[in-house]
């Protein structure tokens, strides 16, 4: 009986943890003042993945793809209609016009690589 309660309790706790970790919380954004901002695509993640940038300034992101799998081959800014092909081992700059404050997601084609550009 105790085991059943413990297992069910643990299961519910894991569900709560998933909801909290993946949907309700997020890592601290890294403030970037240097232009361009270098973002490495490797092992299924963009590093850094959460970037904070000041408003009213042009944004230059320099992507460096280290992951040879096709998943990392393209970066797409869904709301901005901007995308770039990333070649393995080559830097690719993405130039964005100054954006109003808000959060702009950038993803790979399959939405497995994900990052957020936060304009403040």
């Amino acid at each position: 009986m105790m085991a059943t309660i413990a297992v069910n309790g643990a299961g519910l706790a894991v569900i709560g943890l998933i909801v909290w970790w993946f949907w309700l919380s997020r890592p601290a954004a890294r403030r970037q003042d240097d232009i361009p901002i270098t973002i490495v695509a490797e092992d299924g993640v963009y590093s850094p993945a959460y970037i904070e940038i000041g408003r009213d300034r042009p944004i230059v992101l320099r992507f460096l793809r280290k992951d040879p799998s096709p998943c990392a081959a393209k970066v797409i800014f869904t709301e901005l209609g901007v995308s770039a092909d990333l070649a393995v081992g080559e830097e690719q700059e993405v130039h964005l016009n100054p954006q109003p404050p808000g959060e702009y997601e950038f993803v790979c084609e399959m939405h497995m690589y994900r990052g957020v550009l936060s304009v403040k």
């Binding site: 519910l12 299924g44 797409i76």
Partner: protein, 745 residues
Amino acid sequence: MMAEQQHIRLSISGMSCAGCVATVEGALRAVPGVTEASVNFAEHTAEVFGLAPSQTLLAAVKAAGYEAAELKGSEDQAVKEAAEMAHYRRLLRKAAVAAIVGIPLFAAGLMGILPSMATATGRGFWLAAGVATALVMAYAGGHFFVGAWKALKIHNANMDTLIAVGTGSAWVYSMTVALFPERVPSLAQHAYFEAAAVIIALINLGQALEMRARGRTSEAIRRLIGLQPKTARIVRDGQERDVPIAEVGLDQTLRVRPGERLPVDGLVIEGRSNVDESMLSGEALPVEKNVGDEVVGGTINVSGSFLYQAKRIGKDTVLAQIIEMVRKAQSAKPAIGRLADRVAAVFVPSVMIVAVITFLLWYNFGPQPVVSFAIVTTMTVLIIACPCALGLATPISIMVGVGKAAEYGILIRNGDALQQAGKLTAVVLDKTGTVTEGQPAVTHMITVNDWDEHDMLRIAASVETGSEHPLAAAVVEAARKRQLETAVCDAFKAVAGRGVQAVVAGKTVLFGNRSWMEDNHVPLGDLPAQAEVLAREAQTPMYLAVDGKSAGLIAVADPVKADSTPAIQRLHALGLKVIMISGDHRVIAEAVARQVGADEVIAEVLPMDKADKVAALQARGEVVAMVGDGINDAPALAQADVGYAIGTGTDVAIESADVTLMRGSLHGVADAIAISRASVRNIKQNLFGAFIYNVLGIPVAAGALYPLFGVLLNPMIAGAAMAMSSVTVVSNANRLRWFKVRENG
């Protein structure tokens, strides 16, 4: 974090002295972020170091009064392909290593020859199998675990998370059973090492196959990039030498010999030739090029050798812009794909929650041994779920569809244009230049009052020499062909929608339509009746009067393009209503419409009112495609649900419409609509497949069939299904490559 210094090379045009060097260097150094800038006057290049983006540098040079372009190395496709091939082989090697451990274990299990964990030997065997599996997981599946961990740290969950948690939990459970069998009920003493190894083998294999299939989807871009030669022959100080294309600067003189491809865009400065532009425009016949004519990089010099001056290089060339546009469009997603994106964004954590619920349901309500059932079903749920297929469904079809269109000289600007094309009900065709050649010619002349044709034409051409009206150009051209010398005209006056008035050799000449003659009280006799007959044959009659008396009629017609009628038949076959719009007189417009088989005519429309007419059709409930030239018809193209700009040759109005047709033929519109519809159909198939796969697969993996049929999905089958789901989506998209737009061709 400090950003890295970068090195940018620019080609500078317009520098004539050493003073210019100082000006350009000063302008570049003034750009924030530039640490060093030096200009090489001999080569007309600038080397810039620092953090400033190239666009800012180009703008600074321009502001200083010069032209500049970035010099970039061409993409080395061979190196890229070699790297892709190496990764492909690595994935296959990993799949093979995992299979070497997983398959024998799996086969022995099926044959029932695996030792029991109750004996010491059996335990030893299982512990060894566990270690071997761990090694396989580290070598062949290590990247899944690293990816999952890195994603977890940034609060993200991806494909790697599902694979790592699924195979990791299988291994941990199996190792626990092997280490402490006495603590696990005998029924539950089962290890799943083979499942973990086989799943990793299958997923690596699936990724390798997907990579191969995806390579084929970008064939169109590769073919376009392949049009760009790697070297150019520059002429400097009378010497010719071959240089890499990246070193060609603005205004440099280039030599092209017969059979060679042109490296960049420019103007012919010496010699003449015929150039095959078919790869860019789809036009079959070579185009004659003389001094002063524009030539475009990527086209082939067919006959003579010529010199030309580079005017657009690097990413400014027409070919580079086409490649860029195709690339952009290939990344664009139509609305239809956005639902899948929203689902994909929350998919992995949702599957993890479903997996935990599955575990709890089996643990609480499942048969004995509950832990084994719970572990297997949880693992199967995690493994079968495939967010990749969902995420890939739309972009991969768009990529192939847009590439296919590019092969036909059709440049699609965005994914929504592709989707809207499927809903079109009506196509509005601008008459002049779209249905017709757009180059009117004199077809008939009728003289009265003792005038002869030559005199009448000479007077009319004298009046029209300075006019920019297309009909005027036809009259001037007819006079030129007959080698008639025009006279000087004075007191020229043009009245829009009426005609012109001028004084030639002391006589007052009126040239224009019937209203213009009536306004000036010119007696016309039976000319209007003859004009009516000509108008019904789609000819535009223009009256000439000298000193208040009629001299006759000059009729001008714009011939219908040879393929307009069959192309309109194809539009009808696609279920579309064809409406022709024209600024011409109703009688003429109707005559052309009859000739080509258009369903409706909107005539006598001023250019600025075309957009309103399109809006009126939309208000009537039509979903409208507008086909016209990219410059004059821009407002109507923008108003339409899908705007198709018809270009001629390489004169591509890339920015002006949703879809740009590089050829002048109306067949391009039918081709574009057919490809769009096929692409949208393909996307729907992919989305349906990916959704159904996950919607059915996940419950089956969770054991939904068990209460009714007593069957559970083997986690290895789930692994195979997952590996193949992405491959299936990519392969289905690849089918579009074989799509033929015309039944006969």
